[in-house]
């Protein structure tokens, strides 16, 4: 069963010179439920744009994106936001934790927009990522690696079918990167969520059985990378 199915996806941006620049042209891409896949792409190759379109944050010019059986591209914006909260977990390179909130509140906040706040589950998730003792710490009181753990817990808070990870280890040193990657994969596996990770780091990508080249998927390909 597919958790993600993309067909005929095209995306372009209007440049400062008034010209449209095509960045994505992906005929087809899919991911099985509970599976994991890595996408390799150089900086500027459109990796983040691709993930943002899957998440419904950006709209494609054409094509379809189906997540957990829901046609994202056809949903009105408000419903797309709701669907994103329920079906997709997002892990960012810069963690994007809210600074004024504790680790627990960051996780709970994610739940509010999905299946509803569940304090017990939020605490369990933080314990699973090794932060049970630091759930009341604010991001600035946590190390970089610990912040990424909070981001992982938050991404999985709503029991999403699909987790998108955009260079999730980009800001970590090698030891922390390896730990974080292991944690993401393990937590996704435990929660039964499919993982789509994009990165350009060889040491990360080598750990995945299925690694796709974004340039190979994307017809615009090397022209823009």
């Amino acid at each position: 069963m597919l958790v993600l199915e993309i067909s005929g996806l095209k995306k372009s941006f209007l440049g400062p010179d008034g010209q449209r620049t095509q960045v994505l042209d992906i005929p087809y891409f899919s991911l099985e439920a509970g599976a994991e896949a890595a996408l390799r792409g150089a900086s500027g190759s459109g990796k983040s744009t691709f993930l943002n379109i899957i998440a419904g944050i950006l709209q494609a010019d054409s094509g379809t994106v189906k997540v957990a059986g829901q046609e994202f591209t056809e949903l009105p914006e408000a419903e797309r936001d709701l669907a994103r909260g329920r079906h997709i977990g997002y892990i960012f390179q810069t963690f994007n934790l809210l600074q004024g909130y504790t680790a627990l509140e960051n996780v709970l906040l994610g739940m509010h927009f999905g299946r509803g706040a569940d304090r017990a589950r939020a605490e369990t998730l933080l314990e699973q990522v090794g932060l049970g003792e630091r759930k009341h710490y604010r991001p600035r009181q946590l190390s970089i690696g610990q912040q990424q753990r909070v981001a992982v817990a938050r991404a999985l808070a709503n029991k999403p079918e699909l987790v998108l990870a955009d260079e999730p280890t980009g800001n970590l040193d090698q030891r922390n990167a390896e730990e974080a990657l292991a944690l993401i994969r393990e937590t996704c596996r435990r929660q039964g969520a499919a993982l789509l990770l994009v990165s350009h780091a060889r040491e990360i990508l080598t750990q995945f059985e299925k690694v796709e080249e974004l340039d190979a998927l994307n017809r615009v390909g090397a022209a823009n990378s």
Binding site: E77, A78, D81, R84, G85, L109, R154
Partner: protein, 418 residues
């Protein structure tokens, strides 16, 4: 709702200083609005509509307002004197239920000494059914002795007690150099009446006639009373005669007679209308105060807008992230509007403290100066309207930054700010 509470509380905590300043400015505006309108209503009511116990005041030819201020509120100077014979004549009229003479001209530490008759204690009702009542241990003055009955506020402020002796001072304003040699003994202290009478020292009218240096001109010639010798009625003068009629309509007849046809005296009637004229004349002051309050309110609302709007740049990433987590645009919009409303609500709540402080201070000053007592806790429509208005205006001000948050581009703002 819990989500909004979390978002609002964290935002206020993160921007605590600007939030506190904004809340304070809203409190100031709300408190000022409530104080201005409540004060206006209460002072207007107290000075024009309150019971004073008399229907009219008869005094020297001149300003009715001056006459009322001088005799009812014990403010202002006396416009002059009228002959004792006029008091006696008016007292005899069947339609005059009560006529009490007042003679003023002395003070004790700024508190006015009023020479009068015992009728003020035995027959006069300062409110329907309420007469002046002595505190335990006191008695009324004896017309033939240098006795004094003092108001409760005088006793409180001067510390005078029963059997204490004091020297009056000449004039209505206190001046240490104008001390009379006569000694007066306090024989009674009145229970509080919450009226201007609480600020008065009552002595027998004969005492004021005989005070050293006082000159009576009832006959047109100067007459100075000598100890032990009677004062001819023809020489006597009074500052005013306080009148109560058997029927209020009689005031109209008497007013026609005295103000219309006569040339000797003035009848201030009806007293409420005389004071209302004063408030009409100083109505511009109310309008200026209200305008200032409205301006402060406008500044406060502007400060809500500015304080939230100024945080928008640093919060763009926060909004983008909330959106990425699944928050709808309308959720982000509502969170900002509710945050502005929360600031306005907290400010309005603190506004009651500001209101109590302003009205308490104003009530203290007004009571000290006039004896009129204002009730800080008296309900007034503005106490609902001002907080509600601030809340609505705050929410409206919140829509401007909320619109900015609504339009936040998620994809662009998810990347770190450089």
């Amino acid at each position: 709702m819990r989500l909004f509470l979390l978002l609002i509380s964290r935002s206020l905590r993160q921007h605590a200083l600007s939030a506190c300043i904004t809340i304070f400015s809203v409190a100031l505006a709300s408190g000022l609005l409530m104080a201005v309108f409540s004060l206006k209503t209460q002072t207007h009511g107290a000075f024009t509509g309150g019971e004073v116990g008399f229907d009219a005041v008869l005094g020297a030819r001149g300003s009715q307002l001056q006459l009322v201020l001088n005799t009812i509120f014990h403010l202002e100077t006396s416009p002059g004197n009228i002959p004792w014979s006029l008091y006696q004549a008016i007292k005899q009229r069947p339609s005059v239920k009560l006529a009490i003479p007042y003679a003023v001209g002395d003070n004790y530490h700024g508190f006015r000494i009023v020479g009068t008759t015992k009728d003020i204690f035995t027959d006069f009702e300062y409110q329907e059914g309420k007469k002046f009542k002595l505190q335990p241990g006191g008695e009324l003055f004896d017309d033939t002795r240098a006795d004094a009955v003092i108001g409760s506020f005088v006793a409180q402020r001067t510390g005078l007690k029963v059997n204490d002796v004091f020297h009056p001072y000449h004039g209505l304003l206190f001046n240490e150099l104008t001390k009379h040699s006569e000694e007066y003994r306090v024989v009674g202290i009145l229970e509080p009446t919450n009226s201007p009478s609480d600020r008065v020292i009552w002595i027998p009218i004969e005492g004021l006639f005989r005070m050293g240096g006082h000159v009576l001109r009832g006959t047109g010639k100067e007459f100075e009373a000598k100890p032990g010798e009677p004062i001819p009625d023809a020489a006597k003068e009074v500052s005013a005669v306080m009148l109560k009629f058997t029927s209020p309509q009689y005031g109209f007849t008497l007013s026609q007679e005295i103000n219309g046809d006569g040339k000797v005296a003035t009848l201030a009637w009806p007293i409420g209308n005389v004071m209302a004229d004063l408030f009409d004349k100083i109505g511009w002051l109310d309008r200026v105060l209200a305008l200032i309050a409205y301006l402060v309110a406008a500044v406060a609302i502007g400060s809500i807008l500015a304080s939230i709007y100024n945080t928008m740049n640093e919060r763009r990433r926060e909004f983008a992230l909330l959106r990425a987590l699944g928050a709808r645009k309308s959720t982000v919009f509502s969170a900002i509007v509710l945050e502005a409303s929360a600031i306005a609500a907290l400010g309005s709540l603190c506004g009651f403290v500001v209101y109590a402080f302003i009205l308490g201070a104003a009530a203290f000053i007004i009571r000290s100066q006039t004896g009129v007592v204002l009730d800080v806790f008296q309900p007034h429509w503005v106490m609902l309207l001002a907080p509600a208005g601030m809340l609505l205006a705050g929410a409206a001000a919140g829509t401007v930054p909320a619109m900015k948050a609504y339009r936040t581009d998620v994809a662009t703002n998810l990347t770190p700010l450089s």
